[in-house]
């Protein structure tokens, strides 16, 4: 077993070698521009792009014409939200989203607010899911879009997408979902879920970085977007810019593999994740799982080790790549807003670790990680004044702290 061990597959995933094979021809030999309509170089590139488009569409129950290639999910979220807001401005100015969305959604809606749009940020329940009654109540005759993510990037919690899609359809409001973490991992169908727009990313599913897509429904209803990138009119006018042919070919292949191997892979990932969870819960006290365990991606575990600060834990397991919701690990020095939204308290956010198990992890690696985490948590608890106070029976919530 080699270290360091990569267990941060919600941040990014390695490119599957089979995906790389599918990409290689389009760098040197078949390097054409997919928009070159009058020679073989262009035709080959276009053929690769259209094959990939079909592969992406097939994975999510869409048709090829409904896929717009982008540079990734951030761009897709921007295009979906701003594109809809601009296109449907006459119909209304209200958008509903949730407090636990990715920053690519939240920062986009914040910008839209500056341009006069009204945004509702739904809180989530302690399990991380939105409340359907609150969503229903939030819809007004000015609501043009609901944007709720499929699966959360920190806690892996799945939102009630099918119910949201049904409600949006009934209320004739467009429904966008950021499905970056879900597609390729769990079955996703834009038909069954009544999704109108969906953001996708290649590098979260063993494809290359810098490529993603936006699903844009063509029928019932036909969704229109105001393009956010002006230029040569690529992607049916919705996203100009020369296509990243090699990246797109890789994205397509990643989707094909993801779809083909999903059932088996899910079983393996869930087994490894549950093994990790069960060991940590069995060998340590005062461990809390963040978010719903029932409605969760099979490869995610987000767990707080009370009385241990996250960054110090990462420092102790420095041969393992995971991430923490601790303030000390964020650029803003604020603890994770996702964990705060669950209402668990900032102290548990500071103590949280996100594990993301992936296609290439082995059982040996997971066993090793469990052992190392237990060892370091115990060591840091020996060092923790809070754990000592807890053991003495002191109620930490009643202590008057000298906040600084």
């Amino acid at each position: 077993m080699k270290t360091p061990i990569y267990l941060d597959n919600h941040a990014t995933t390695p490119v599957d070698p089979r995906v790389l094979d599918a990409m290689m021809p389009y760098f040197t030999g078949d390097f054409g521009n997919a928009a070159s309509r009058n020679h073989a170089f262009g035709w080959k590139a276009e053929e690769a792009v259209e094959k990939a488009r079909k592969q992406v569409a097939d994975l999510i129950g869409a048709t090829s014409k409904e896929i717009v290639f982008t540079s990734g999910a951030t761009e897709s979220n921007n295009l979906a939200l701003k594109g809809v807001a601009e296109m449907y401005a006459e119909r209304g100015n209200h958008i509903i989203t949730a407090a636990t969305e990715h920053k690519a959604v939240l920062d986009t809606t914040k910008k839209l607010e500056k341009h006069g749009y009204r945004i509702t940020y739904l809180p989530v329940k302690t399990d991380g899911r939105v409340d359907m009654d609150m969503l229903r109540d939030a819809i007004t005759d000015k609501t043009i879009l609901i944007s709720i993510m499929y699966a959360n990037n920190e806690i892996g919690v799945l939102q009630p997408i099918r119910e949201i899609g049904k409600l949006a359809k009934e209320k004739k409001v467009l429904f966008h979902t950021d499905a970056t973490q879900a597609v390729g991992k769990i079955p996703v169908s834009v038909i069954e879920d009544n999704i109108d727009l969906m953001s996708l990313s290649a590098h979260k599913m063993y494809g290359p970085k810098g490529v993603g897509g936006l699903y844009v429904r063509r029928k019932q209803p036909r969704v229109q977007l105001t393009c956010q990138m002006d230029g040569g009119g690529h992607e049916r006018g919705m996203r100009s810019g020369t296509l990243n042919v090699a990246g797109i070919a890789g994205f397509g292949e990643a989707c094909a593999i993801g779809g083909r191997e999903m059932a088996e892979e899910t079983r393996k990932l869930r087994y490894l994740r549950d093994k990790l969870k069960d060991r940590l819960l069995a060998e340590l006290d005062e461990v809390y799982i963040n978010g719903s365990m029932e409605h969760r991606l099979p490869h995610n575990l987000n767990i707080s080790f009370a009385y241990v600060e996250g960054e110090s834990l990462l420092m102790g397991i420095n041969d393992i790549a995971v991430s923490s919701g601790s303030a000390c690990t964020s650029a803003t020095l604020e603890p994770s807003y996702v964990l705060k939204a669950l209402g668990a308290g900032d102290d548990l956010a500071h103590s949280s670790i996100r594990f993301g198990i992936g296609r290439f992890n082995t059982e040996d690696e997971v066993d090793y990680v469990a052992g190392r985490v237990v060892e370091v948590v115990r060591k840091l608890r020996d060092l923790s004044p809070l754990y000592e106070m807890f053991k003495e029976g002191i109620d930490l919530s009643k202590v008057v702290w000298t906040a600084h």
């Binding site: 600060e309 900032d346 060092l383 004044p385 000592e388 702290w401 906040a403 600084h404």
Partner: protein, 138 residues
């Protein structure tokens, strides 16, 4: 983030970890920080009544590696000093010794505060001992 060798050394081999009897008259205890801020330091000193020197110091810290290192270093530095000498320790000294980056300066501030709080607690005990023969629980 890359940690300095000295931070890593204190993190991997923290000095003077532990607790002393906080009710003992010769022990001063300082607890600073808050769990929701992500760091809490407990620093204790034990003063030799005859020499007036801090003969032992212990700490426990909930916080990042730099917070652990700052408090570990603080316990090393206060040992062998008089209470007044220990009050001279500045957070900037800790920053320099551990090569802390700007985002970690608050860890050193917290360590300085912990020293001051421990000494404050010790002094309070001394005053109550001299003014009232029977020490009262705070």
């Amino acid at each position: 983030m890359a940690y300095s060798d000295k931070v890593l050394d204190h993190y991997n081999h923290p000095r003077n970890v532990g607790s002393m009897d906080k009710n003992a008259p010769e022990v001063g205890t300082g607890i600073v920080g808050a769990p929701e801020c992500g760091d809490v330091m407990k620093l204790q000193i034990k003063v030799n009544e005859e020499t007036g020197l801090i003969e032992d110091a212990k700490f426990k810290t909930f916080g990042c590696g730099s917070a652990i290192a700052s408090s570990s270093l603080a316990t090393e530095w206060v040992k062998g000093k008089t209470v007044d000498e220990a009050l001279e320790i500045r957070n900037t000294d800790i920053v320099n010794e551990l090569s802390l980056p700007p985002v970690k300066i608050h860890c050193s501030v917290l360590a300085e505060d912990a020293i001051k709080a421990a000494i404050g607690d010790y002094k309070k005990k001394q005053v109550s001992r001299t003014s009232e023969p029977v020490a009262q629980e705070a």
